[in-house]
Symmetry: C2
């Protein structure tokens, strides 16, 4: 039976790659994307749902399907207001996950980050860590938390990272205990491949490191 | 009065840039380069001295001039043998500096590294730190120890570092206390500009951080 994907954050680095992948994936016959601004996309499999993220009640009825991918994320630069940052990074994934669970979605895939930790000093990593804890309480039949390292969007940039970024990291590792190997940048397309693979498992709950995502998504 | 420069390591990233700069610099009418392999360079200001670096007595008579730039460096990859690595990274600069001092060279400029420390756990940083200590004992009238960060050779690579390397460093700084600002990569041409400026001072002894080199070499 074909599946319905639900996608939050379809305009971002991971989300846009994921959307392309889902469109070309025969396992899915429908992809619901929840958006603030209408995208230029025009594909018969894609249902665009214009969303007021400040009033999530409005999307309750439409948030149904099989696999829910949460790829929304912001930065302090794009969202300087602290409350707004917290709302996007913490409240939104937790509230949407609760609605998804209420609507019997079985697979929830959350894009966290390497180093996510509810006690981290970085707000970015702390929010992600706190979201992870809340998601685990919700009780999805299959919850996948992915923790990618530094994301690289395209082949050209990845080649550049290999030629200059890796030597830079090796240099920096001279000065910092423990080294940087696990922080090796990862290609977005590999992360996206891994995310889709995770929906066919039945792991109840699992956290995937960047290294594990690279293994899963590379073949 | 015009000066004679003495250059060790003229084929490397810093040395080759320095050689170009010295050739075009009217303060110098002679540049002596000590080499293992004859380079393709053909310039009337440049005196190429074929050197056996395993028998430094052979170069004693020729190691004369005003400003001596030591830019030799190797890597564990290029020099896997530990004794050979130590000879190049530690013995060579110390022995050549002693000959330079004996021959009344007043300015000695040594390319060290950010983080150089005689007690560092990294062999690379430890050797550099130990060399620094030995050089300070020799008593040059003007000793300049430069400690650049990660070196970037050309404008294109530097642009790439700005677009991808700096975001990568910002990302990594989430996980490491103290951050990476002082490790910001630096252009070789800026380092070389700074090195030449340092020869006209009379500082008896000074260590220049990567940030200070950027200030000195940028204008």
């Amino acid at each position: 039976m074909m599946k319905t994907a639900v996608l939050f954050g379809s305009s971002g680095l991971i989300g846009s790659n994921l959307l392309d992948n889902l469109i070309n994936n025969n396992t899915y016959n429908k992809i619901k994307i929840f958006v603030r601004k209408l995208p230029s996309i025009d594909n018969s499999k894609v249902e665009v749902i214009n969303t007021d993220f400040l009033d999530l009640d409005t999307l309750k009825e439409k948030l149904t399907g099989d696999d829910c991918f949460f790829c929304i994320g912001t930065t302090h630069k794009d969202t300087p207001d602290k409350n707004e940052y917290r709302r996007i990074e913490y409240d939104l994934p937790v509230q949407l996950a609760k609605i998804a669970k209420f609507n019997s979605i079985s697979n929830f895939i959350y894009v966290s980050s390497i180093g996510a930790n509810p006690k981290a000093s970085s707000t970015y990593l702390k929010n992600k860590g706190q979201v992870e804890e809340e998601l685990k309480k919700i009780g999805f039949s299959n919850l996948s938390i992915i923790q990618p390292s530094f994301l690289v969007g395209n082949r050209k940039d990845f080649r550049i990272i290999e030629v200059l970024g890796i030597p830079l990291m090796k240099f920096l590792s001279l000065f910092f205990f423990g080294g940087f190997k696990k922080y090796t940048p990862i290609k977005v397309e590999i992360v996206v491949n891994a995310m889709i693979k995770l929906t066919s498992g039945n792991n109840s709950e699992h956290t995937y490191s960047s290294d594990r995502l690279r293994e899963l998504g590379s073949n």
